[in-house]
Subunit: 342 residues, 2 copies
DNA sequence: CAGCAAGCTGACAGCGTTGTCAATATTAGC
DNA sequence: GCTAATATTGACAACGCTGTCAGCTTGCTG
């Protein structure tokens, strides 16, 4: 009943359909110049035999390896990567592509060499670059030089003919800031993200934009540099709370730093959100599990990864280039870590 | 300076070394019957040309695909999987194997069909089964039937000739329970893990063992069923706290459930660890980031995954079977969510 | 030093596809 | 209805490697 442990070959299909293997190849690869009747006959046999082309033979014969690489930062928040993996895998498999992972530890002075080796050894046809990989100029330069198509997921100005997936970080940051303003907060601290990440600038821009629109003066001491990790959030929050006039709300550029801020506030005996409102960005796995649950911004990562992989595969398959996608919509998730100023 | 975008073939190496391609093949595959001098000459050429065999040609010609699958539960705590991925990838790549990921959503009534298709399509030579995949009897049965070697990471009774990696869950659970007992807790609640996971039974056994050794009566109401997720931990903790004589400490079978327990306790106005000590299992990413930081147990997941992949590859390469590994050692990590009873 | 086994090496045929190009079938044009 | 042009099909050679097997070298035995 089940297909056995073996696979039908192109010969089996050809024989059953009464055509040459070359014709089967044409049908399977959607090439033109096959009569409709013939095509149907072949497709029928393909179905009956559950034929699937042998990837190794294909790669050896043609130039195509049908392998896509996914390069990611190892230390990265893993909920994000989980979604990226799932999105990309979900698209690659049905399309007949394999997805190969390559963790990288940043900073990495030999990063281009690592990627080059990876690309050559695995014979990659294309590469998916989740943030922050798409933010590294040397990586982009390398891939352009090697002429390997890639799809970056990052708020980058998309170069012509390059695939870039982004969401409206800035608008979400704007909304989140306005939410805090609407709650009566007058002094809102901001913890910036890692300067090498494209998202950092966008999120900061949204904050400034909201301040401006609401006629708040921009106060430099209320803005601190963080690096997207828990500890940097904790330290930055500490500095904000040390101010003579500390903020009543802190907006961190991601949830790890927001968790750090909450941790630091707790250590100082402050209650959240009574004494301090805290909001983050990303809606990671633990955002809803810490106490209090974190107000944050959710991105449709899975969809973004699916789109990235899909557009990349379209490009590799030589399909018509899709119109550049509009940014994906982020969603502000309001939980209990933020509250109206009493 | 850098190797170019192209790869040397076996012909290039053979020519340079002045031997036939077959001899190069022998050297590269570590086959016997090559004179030492010849072997060195070939290795020299291999090095000079940075030769790496073409995987597609190898697969097409020989029977070996050098592809290993990694099947995992999608919803899984991702810090665990991150470590598994990194461990396995770190071993596979240098050994010349590719690692293909396959997320699965449990429960899955068609799981065997999914795995079968995956194995056939990707021509898997072997499979790594992180928990809880190695706990599913139908999966094990399928792989045995298909004669695909696998390495399970789970506290399972290792069948002869099968690779199984485990750590001393039970001993760690025992220590953790004794820790709580040592802190003066008289009533210690326990939240069991998902019944389909092998680890659940082990962790529970450690708890019971510690009670027994310390001459504590086993009280059934203090033990609640959980399913390794946050919500089930929350619910189970709720039931424990509803008891007429609630426990002063709760040991949850993983950190997600421990986080749920803390959450629930907070909602009821209890302070941790003042009113209630809570401990978990796994040392996930957020264990040290919630407040208070969680007392838990850390497993050497990366090493376990490395060992699993390494033994599997050894088996595929036909190397001598290693002696069965001793269980890996877990480490109890004491943080602030547990305290002496005052 | 012949005779034989074991050690070493290479020629050659696949492996299952795709690319090339020639052969054949169909259609269009007049 | 015939020819030219075009659409469809197939024969065959790669692709880069491993398996098989035969041939050539050694080294050992008596």
């Amino acid at each position: 009943m089940n297909p056995r442990n073996t696979k039908a070959t192109i010969f089996d299909v050809a024989e059953r359909a009464g055509v040459s293997i070359k014709t089967v190849s044409r049908v399977v690869n959607n090439e033109p110049n096959v009569r409709e009747r013939t095509r149907n006959r072949v497709l029928q046999s393909v179905r009956e035999l559950s034929y699937q082309p042998n990837a190794a033979a294909r790669e050896l014969s043609g130039k195509r390896s049908r392998v896509i690489g996914l390069i990611y930062e190892n230390a990265q928040e893993f909920g994000y990567l989980n979604d990226v993996f799932n999105g990309a895998l979900g698209i690659c498999e049905p399309a007949g592509y394999s997805l190969l992972l390559r963790p990288l530890t940043l900073p990495d002075s030999k990063i281009t060499e690592h990627i080059r080796q990876f690309a050559i050894n695995a014979r990659l046809e294309g590469i998916v670059l989740p943030a922050p990989m798409g933010d590294l100029p040397e990586v982009l330069a390398l891939l352009r030089e090697m002429r390997i198509p890639f799809a970056a997921i990052t708020p980058r100005e998309p170069a012509p003919d390059e695939i870039n997936i982004l969401c409206n970080d800035e608008a979400a940051s704007f909304s989140l800031t306005e939410l805090l303003i609407g709650q009566g907060h007058q002094a809102i601290g901001f913890i910036k993200g890692h300067p090498d990440h494209g998202a950092s600038a966008k999120r900061f821009a949204g904050y400034r934009h909201a301040l401006k629109k609401n006629r708040f003066a921009y106060a430099a001491p209320l803005v601190r540099q963080g690096y997207f990790d828990f500890d940097s959030g904790r330290i930055a929050a500490g500095k904000l709370l040390d101010l003579a006039e500390p903020p009543s709300a802190i907006l961190a550029s991601n949830d790890d730093m927001a968790a750090g801020a909450i941790f630091e506030a707790r250590e100082r005996g402050l209650t959240i959100p009574g004494d301090l409102s805290v909001a983050g960005f990303d809606d990671t796995r633990f955002s809803s599990r810490i106490w209090p649950p974190l107000t944050t911004v959710r991105q449709p990562i899975i969809k973004m990864a699916e789109t990235a992989a899909g557009l990349l595969i379209d490009k590799l398959n030589g399909s018509a280039t899709k119109a550049p996608e509009a940014p994906f919509e982020c969603e502000v998730v309001i939980r209990e870590s933020t509250a109206h100023l009493t």
